[in-house]
Amino acid sequence: MERFNLLKKDHLIGFLRKLAKEYRIIAPVKNRHGDTLFTPVTDLDNDEIDLTNQPQNSIKSFLFPQTEVIATYQSSTPDDYTFTEPEPSFPPTIFFGVRPCDLSAILYMDVIFLKGKKDPFFLDKRRNSLLIGLNCTAPFANCFCNATNSGPFLEFGFDLQFTDLGDRFMVETGRSSGERLIEDRPQFFTPSTEKDSQARYQSFLEARGGFHRPVHLDQTLKKLAKGEVDESVWSFLSERCQDCGGCAYVCPTCTCFTISDQPLSPTNGERLRSWDACTFSGFTRMAGGHNPVHRATGAIRQRFLHKLLYDVKQHGRTSCVGCGRCVGICFGGTDIVRFINMSCQGELYGT
């Protein structure tokens, strides 16, 4: 039998306090307004680390922030125009309480940003990050990671992974960097027993059976691959899409961005990279005003096909991780679950 470590819940804060001496800790924190967001923990005694609600932001906001400076430029005369790359400033960070969907999303971002030409800004952050996962023992209302194969439990991708077993966490090690976190602080851990492994498996079974939403992703993927999705689905979606970009912004795997110059003075400025969304009509519009992608038929289609068809072709996986963040927040009521179920059922108004 494989042996794991156990950490009593009573000692979680103590363990994090030790880690906080060397790392910045970013964890789901429930703020005084009642919202739970991944936030740097500044006060372990008073910040409420919330492991029962889904954080509304994913850790994408830290590894690939909404806006970041990718260069500064200065140009005092037309013959002088130079660029400087900003110094890396991401401190060693532990992301604690990252759920399987968000962990899968990071593995996807690794492929996008680090396979081939490496993105220096993502690389700097990723290199300085350790991931402590938290398996999902009770899926949330909009979750469907069971359909996307990215949860509720994960086997790889983490440095450490916690599973809630009531009064204790079972702690698995994914990488040597994670192993070291335990080895250097052995006082917090005890070895697990066979009973703990059984409990973990039991909780996995319960989690797997605990999904609230039937999401027929497999059928839709087949239909998409065969090009069998009805045209009316696209027109329905594009009529209703209100162009907020929210689905892309809350998505842990949406990595489209734009680059723009922000002048700071007449002679210098910053080049910013910021989130963008493929559903915006300006996303593909060219300088002369011409747009090769028709918003109604092309842009919405790109969003869903990229996630569910093109990434399967290119990377062998969907880039939807089933976190459900985009579900229920769509202004027009056309989130990915609705799309998936509409595509395979061919039914416009049912969810």
Binding site: H33, L37, T39, P40, Q56, Q242, V250, Q262, F331
Partner: protein, 133 residues
């Protein structure tokens, strides 16, 4: 610095959103999930609410028209001139000669204080804002 909850300025819906601050600069907006209006999402304007805050086009010093040209001045000079001119017009014209335009983009506290200023200091009820525009 934790994210700061505030209220969107871009329409009358009044979404609750967090501003993300880094090194003294606002770098992002994110909706509040529990807020009764925003409920986890913002429109495109709300998601990009932070973009104008650090615009290089922001005015950062008072300007006074000198010889027909708006010229940078100190706050004291600009406020002194404003107070003097307002007082002068008030003395010459009574409650008829001054008008104030408040703003539907300013806070309640600012609007309250501005109408108090108008009525108690300028002694006129000539105050309005573009409620109807």
């Amino acid at each position: 610095m934790p994210d700061i909850l505030t209220t969107c300025v871009y329409c009358g819906c009044g979404c609750g959103l967090y501003l993300h601050e880094e090194n003294g600069r606002i770098t992002g907006s994110t909706p509040s999930r529990e807020h009764p209006i925003s409920r986890g999402n913002l429109c495109v304007k709300g998601w990009h609410l932070h973009e104008f805050i650090h615009s290089a086009e922001r005015l950062t010093q008072p300007l006074i028209r000198k010889n027909g040209v708006l010229t940078p001045s100190s706050w004291d000079e600009a406020l002194d001139l404003t107070a003097t001119e307002l007082l002068r017009i008030k003395e010459n014209t009574g409650d008829q000669g001054l008008g104030v335009m408040a703003s539907a983009k300013c806070t309640n506290e600012e609007n309250y204080l501005l109408q108090k200023f108008t009525r108690a200091v300028l002694k006129t009820n000539n105050i309005d804002h573009c409620a109807r525009l």
